[in-house]
Amino acid sequence: MTGMERVLCALRGEPADRRAFTLALSLYGSRLSGCPTREYYSEPVRYLEGQREVVRLMDPDIVFTPFALPFEALAYGGEGIWLDKFPPNVRKPPFREHDDVKPLGDDLLRSSGVAYLIESTRLLAEEFGPDKPVCAVATAPVDLPAMLLGIETWLEILLFDPERAARLMDLATDHFLRLTGALFSAGAAFVAIPVMFANLRIVTPALLEKTILSALARAFGQARGPLVYHHGGNRIVDHLGLCSGLPGVAGFLFDPRDNLARAREVLGQGRLMLGNVNGPGLARMQPDDAFASVSAILADRAGDRNFVLASAHADIPFDTNPDTLLAVRRAVVDAGAVA
């Protein structure tokens, strides 16, 4: 079976020759191809070359476009940070004052970083699209203001200035729809959305239920393709029931601390679940430990056809031992078919 077929089996709840799996090896491609990170994150062709090496090493069932959300903030201005062995970042939020934030319209798609994301998606889809779904990554509309203004300012506005919060979320929704629309047009099979601010570790229950979820529903409902709800760095099972009905969400990617059995109870049969290997944690794991850890997840989900083994949190770190990654793949293969 191809990766595409395995992922479709997981979506439909059908048997497969083995468990579909993927790791967020966006950054790791630069290590495998020996391309300096600045060039890797500037030239879509270099990114494609890196992902070819990822496929050669791991043959994952899903390939990732650049996991580089800061490019979305940099489209509005500000200064990027370029470091060896890390994806680009934003030195500081581009705006100090909320009233300075203005919508970019289609200039968003013409900014160099976002144009790079879209072109990388197009190249990946052209090369791998028929056999492997291409997963793009985009910022949640409820999180974009935090990238533009800083977490503190966005939290303050959310808590104490609902009208201004609504205006900023309108801007962020427009941004989200333009970007995800362009990524789907470029060939992304789905877009993963890390969601920080729809989480009870971050906001109050009242904010989540009255403000955040309605904004997400409005944005997700207009997306032009399927979305994967990414846990965003925190556990999500305890409020999963509130998020499970969001429109446009094809699957949920869980935090390593989330209990997948409990998640299945909340979601019910038939919904796609992904998880929950600790991606950054692999950098500190020996191959045998990674094998055991992944095998335990697979054993827990053995009877669950609607499950894809995937890494959670951010990108797999640059310094991760390739043998540790191969141990993940070996655990998947050893677990055998999905009956």
């Binding site: 800083g150 503190e152 959310l158 808590l159 570790r201 971050i202 906001v203 109050t204 009242a206």
Partner: protein, 260 residues
């Protein structure tokens, strides 16, 4: 009218509402409290905690000011605010408190400290320390640092806050100038947390490693518990609310190190 003035006016209205809605009286004495007073204080803490969870900053401040009017700011801090912050810290450890609720707790404490400073009175500000705080070089994520500063001040510490993007030499210069025994360095991401190593080197190069203790914190330290030691920190806290306890411990270590 200033923002603070407007807030206090709204607070006065809220205090009136709160008084009429409340079934508790907040009478309490610093000494010789009756059972009724103790019960009243406990009920007051419950109410304050609930207001904090609901992010009702203005009502919470109104309640604290109401208490301070009758019993003084020191009692408002020690009898109401501090026990509530302690409870919030426990809830944070159990992951039963959100960042927003912790932020509101900080804002409530900050509002009370501003009011106490403006009105004067019995609250012991800057009774401990000083300590130096800042975000490390290249780090501009100020939320955690500001919350730590507020909780430290509420606990009576004098805080020298150097702001964002602070070079190692600036940290150490400030510690030497002000006689601080603890430096608190904040970093949100792994990339910037790595810069704490340079601060450690600077402290050691000036042979201040015994006297000046290094507290480190930020979101990444929660995700990677080993990082505190990797970058050369002497201690960390799992949230801003727990910072006063950490600084007390590091301060004591500094004194002990100098005595040996």
């Amino acid at each position: 009218m200033t923002t603070m003035g407007r807030r206090q006016l709204r607070c006065q209205e809220l205090r009136n509402v709160f008084k009429s809605e409340s079934t508790h009286s907040y009478d309490c004495g610093g000494t010789g409290m009756t059972d009724e007073m103790v019960t009243s204080l406990e009920a007051g803490r419950e109410t304050l905690y609930a207001l904090m969870l609901e992010a009702d900053r203005e009502k919470a401040l109104a309640m604290l000011l109401d208490h301070a009017d009758e019993h003084g700011f020191q009692s408002a801090v020690s009898d109401l605010l501090e026990p509530v912050l302690e409870r919030a810290g426990e809830a944070w450890l159990l992951e039963n408190l959100s960042l927003a609720q912790g932020y509101v707790a900080g804002k409530i404490a900050e509002d009370l400290l501003v009011a106490a400073a403006e009105k004067g009175g019995d609250l012991l500000l800057d009774a401990k320390g000083p300590v130096v705080l800042g975000n490390v070089e290249d780090d501009y994520h100020s939320l955690g640092r500001k919350m730590v500063a507020v909780f430290l001040r509420a606990a009576g510490w004098k805080v020298i806050d150097l702001g964002n993007d602070v070079a190692p030499s600036q940290f150490v210069d400030a510690a030497v100038e002000h006689g601080a025994r603890v430096i608190g360095a904040s970093a949100m991401m792994l990339t910037t947390a790595e810069n704490i190593r340079h601060l450690r080197d600077e402290i050691d190069a000036r042979k201040l490693g015994g006297r000046v203790r290094l507290a480190v914190g930020g979101a990444v330290f929660k995700l990677r518990p080993d990082l505190m030691q990797e970058v050369g920190g002497d201690g960390t806290a799992s949230s801003a609310i727990q910072a006063p306890e950490l600084f007390e411990r590091l301060w004591a270590q500094s004194i002990e190190a100098e005595g040996t």
